[in-house]
């Protein structure tokens, strides 16, 4: 038990003492996850809105595909992205392997189905009276779209939050596509896996605390937004 307690004490020292390696992993995680979240929200919310709002042929089949993609294993995404961006792959020339951009691409593939599926569910649960209300108050098509999105904002926030949770905690993509390179592509989760393997519990615990702290801050911000 002592080594766990000692790990916590050391973790506090590493965090507040400004340990370079620890903060490098934190920065890499934030950079990759910010990129992937931005991309998945920009693509996922309009697609989710379309999937939930519009009626089109093969809608059920598309929904089935998206729901299946919710369960994509991160190592499989890592494998596919690796295959595409490695030197032998079709996108090999872009030099994305072992970069944060490569990790962000993989995480976008991970987060996109979550954003689409949960946005579509939020839009589907939209009250059927909303459209009538907005049009009868004079909304244009564009105002109808944005006001409808604003009405389901809590559902969209939940979609973003769930996707963020998956992106922040995944190991497979970061490890396979990023390569866990110190000072460069080592993220919080790959560092924890590595440090634990080396028996360095304190660094692992420190990074774990940062992960929980980030989740806490994000949730505090969202609960503040909800109150507005």
């Amino acid at each position: 038990m002592d080594f766990i307690l000692a790990g916590f004490v050391e973790a506090i020292r590493l965090l507040f003492g400004g340990d370079g390696q620890t903060w490098s992993a934190v920065a890499a995680t934030l950079k990759a996850s910010s990129g992937s979240m931005a991309a998945s929200l920009i693509m996922g919310i309009p697609l989710g809105f379309a999937l939930g709002y519009l009626d089109f042929p093969a809608k059920r089949q598309v929904r089935l595909l998206v729901d299946t993609a919710l369960a994509l294993p991160t190592v499989f995404i890592g494998l596919v992205v690796y295959a595409f961006i490695s030197n032998r792959g079709p996108l090999g020339e872009m030099g994305l392997l072992f970069t944060l951009t490569g990790i962000a691409i993989g995480q976008t593939i991970l987060a996109l189905p979550v954003v689409i599926a949960l946005s579509a569910t939020a839009v589907e649960s939209m009250d059927r009276h909303l459209r009538t209300l907005l049009i009868s108050l004079g909304a244009s098509r564009r105002q109808l779209l944005f006001s409808s999105l604003w009405e389901v904002r809590y559902g969209l926030l939940a979609a973003g939050l769930t996707a963020y949770g998956r992106v922040m905690t995944e190991v497979g993509i970061s490890m396979m596509v990023g390569g866990n390179i110190k000072w460069h592509t080592r993220t919080i989760t790959t560092a924890i896996a590595l440090e634990t393997g080396k028996g360095m519990f304190s660094t692992g615990i420190a990074l774990g605390l940062v992960l929980i702290a980030i989740a806490f801050v994000v949730n505090v911000c969202l609960s503040f937004l909800r109150k507005r």
Binding site: D127, H129, L130, R131, T132, L133, I135, S136, L137, G138, A139, S140, R141, Q143, S147, E151
Partner: protein, 343 residues
Amino acid sequence: MTVAQPIYRIENLAHRYNGDPVVAVDRLDIEPASIMGLVGPNGSGKSTLLKLMAFIFRPTQGRILFDGKAALPFDESVRFQVTLLTQDPYLMKRTVFKNVAYGLRVRGGQEDWARPVHDALAMVGLDTDIFARRQYDELSGGEAQRVALAARLVLKPRVLLLDEPTASVDAASSELIRAASLRARSEWGTTLVIASHDREWLYDVCDEVIHLFKGTPTGTGRSNMVFGPWVPEENGLYTKPLGDGIRLTVSAPPHADATAFIDPAAIRILDSGAASTAENIAFVDGTVTRIASEKQSGHLFADVRAGSLRLVVRVDESRLAAMTLHRGWPVTLAYRPDSIRWL
């Protein structure tokens, strides 16, 4: 002399849901600043007709002319002219102020909405200081419906369509909603189209009341609509039991569940017990519950309760002096079963 152009002209309008016809109106004109009532049983197409008139969606067939021009959803010619209040109190997930100001915001322009929002809330009996900052879910059903009406009134619309606006609110809210709607007509010349089950109110305030049945206008003014099933009798006639041993006798219906229309002018009021054995005349006993004059025609009408049924009867004014007619008075109604129209 110029004749005022109708604000609405409906031509060959038909709307279907999944192939089933819901609304079929060949021709209907509505004059500006008039009040039109729509009555009809549930599922008669009132709500769909109002939504089509509010340009919420396109009709399957036909067209609706507004100010003489055919219009469709989102057209600039109708977007800021017509507004619809639905039966269920429904608000956006925002404060009362933002709900009421929404229509002003989409119209752009002025930024100071406090005054118009205050006036609109006052029209429906809500104090701005108390309600403006409340969230949509901090209101009772009646308050929510009044806020929803205020969100329409703040626009000073040319046409206000009301779909059973008082069906799910308390009596006090109901009175405020009715008064505010009528004020819109008197202050701004707003044309009102009101669908309601409260026929008395409609007959009192409307310039015209239209009966809608299976999506089609079946007549105007006061009418008695009696639903089946009908029970065959030995003499070739049919009856509907009304409770208390009272029966309504009718001619042979086209089918057992047909709907009978009985013209209020085709019913005569006799003193109680004055039924005779005259041929081709049917009698039914009842009690007078209300006497009112119709705004549109000026005719005098009596409501008579016969068992579970309420019948409207046009009172022959030439015979009024010879009759004792007041609330609670027992009477016998006489009518010819062959004068009944069937749908």
